[in-house]
Symmetry: C2
Subunit: 209 residues, 2 copies
DNA sequence: AACCCTATTGATCGAATGATCTATATCTTG
DNA sequence: CAAGATATAGATCATTCGATCAATAGGGTT
């Protein structure tokens, strides 16, 4: 009956009850993001509740089903992950192509080289989520394909880059995040230099200074 | 989220019973490989048994626990995935470096661009399996680090490639398999050309013809 | 054909899981 | 400060899960 001492279990001993519904819902979603990123989408609602310091039944006061929680996780994670002004900035030929690519991949890597994003994207991809295919298709048509045209335009001689070549550049960079957050092996603290060298190698092969 | 059973395969009336234990065990492991590759390591033993056309209890006649089945899956999938003679062939300087790298990545991609391998490797990586870290470490020390020395040796002028540069090359190639089997988006039927161009871009940036 | 070994099944157990429902207690309002 | 509204907790249900075990039946041997 009596509560166990809060020192043992909780890093957050203060159990504030009766939050405003908006705030509680937000707290659940944010907790669910890291929780499912940790253990995968098969994580148990009881474990999620325990991590949040609430009862399992409370979850179902805010979400009808577990699938609904995961939907909210998806929404929270995918939101604003692709900055809408990147296509414009990537094709702004008043700026050297190398500069454009470096700023894009620096910003983009800062956004996606994040534990939660990387793992939930991978979990949902493995689960066959349509969301991933849409995301990749969007990435291809809005970022990578325009980039291909920029390379063609910036090359001093006629070149014929393929989309696979752009995907190769892209994958080599993304792979840093995969190693770090999926396989959890050491990677450079700041991937900026590695990214810059990858971009330079890429441009160099098309004769772009 | 729910992985409905592929009822397409329901037309399997022939129930061959009483196999020799060796064969039955082999059949279970091979079935488990594709099963867990499909649905993830949280797949249920009853679903696995149904797919195999056997009873769930029979599984536990050959394996004491579900974890033991997964161990067998790991063993079956990881076995002979890294050809032991690659290190020697990669450092055989009587052959042009480009040729060595192309043959390696052609062979290696044929081995790993496989549905079961790719997905089980990713599932186990997400689950935090030590196996993945060991594999990547082995890949780094036995293949990629020697490759770095070969590049240094083959370059006409002094160059200073980093391990991150080699990982970038490697990741860009592996990413083809990730797109194909994890995200399940279209990729070239034969990745050989894309790989060749990636290797050529890489070598070109170090001045290696 | 009868026998025996054992591979396989079917029934079942206890724990865990998603979800429901009612009682409780906290905050706000008048 | 009393009272109503409702956020939260606790108990519980119906399945589902991994795992166990006694009963059954396939197939080689004699």
């Amino acid at each position: 009956m009596d509560q166990t001492s809060p020192d043992m279990t909780a890093a957050e001993p203060v159990e504030r009850r009766r939050l405003p519904p908006e705030e509680r819902r937000r707290q659940i979603v944010e907790g669910a993001v890291t929780f499912f990123a940790d253990v995968g989408l098969d994580g148990k609602t009881r474990d999620l509740a325990k991590r949040l310091g609430i009862t399992q039944s409370l979850l179902f006061n805010y979400f009808a089903t577990k699938a609904e929680i995961i939907e909210a996780v998806y929404a929270h994670v995918y939101i604003d992950r692709l900055s809408p002004d990147w296509p414009a900035r990537l094709t702004d030929r008043t700026v050297p192509l190398r500069t454009r690519m470096l700023t894009f991949y620096t910003e983009y890597s800062q956004l996606i080289f994040e534990y939660e994003w990387m793992r939930i994207f991978m979990f949902s991809g493995l689960a066959g989520a349509e969301l991933n295919r849409r995301y990749l298709h969007h990435m291809g048509s809005v970022i990578l394909h325009p980039l291909l045209e920029e390379i063609r335009a910036a090359a001093p001689q006629p070149v014929d880059p393929q989309m696979e070549d752009i995907w190769n550049l892209h994958g080599g960079i993304v792979y840093i995040g995969i190693r770090r957050h999926i396989y959890q092996v050491p990677t450079p603290d700041d991937p900026a230099q590695a990214i810059a060298r990858a971009v330079d190698r890429f441009l160099h092969s098309y004769g772009v200074a």
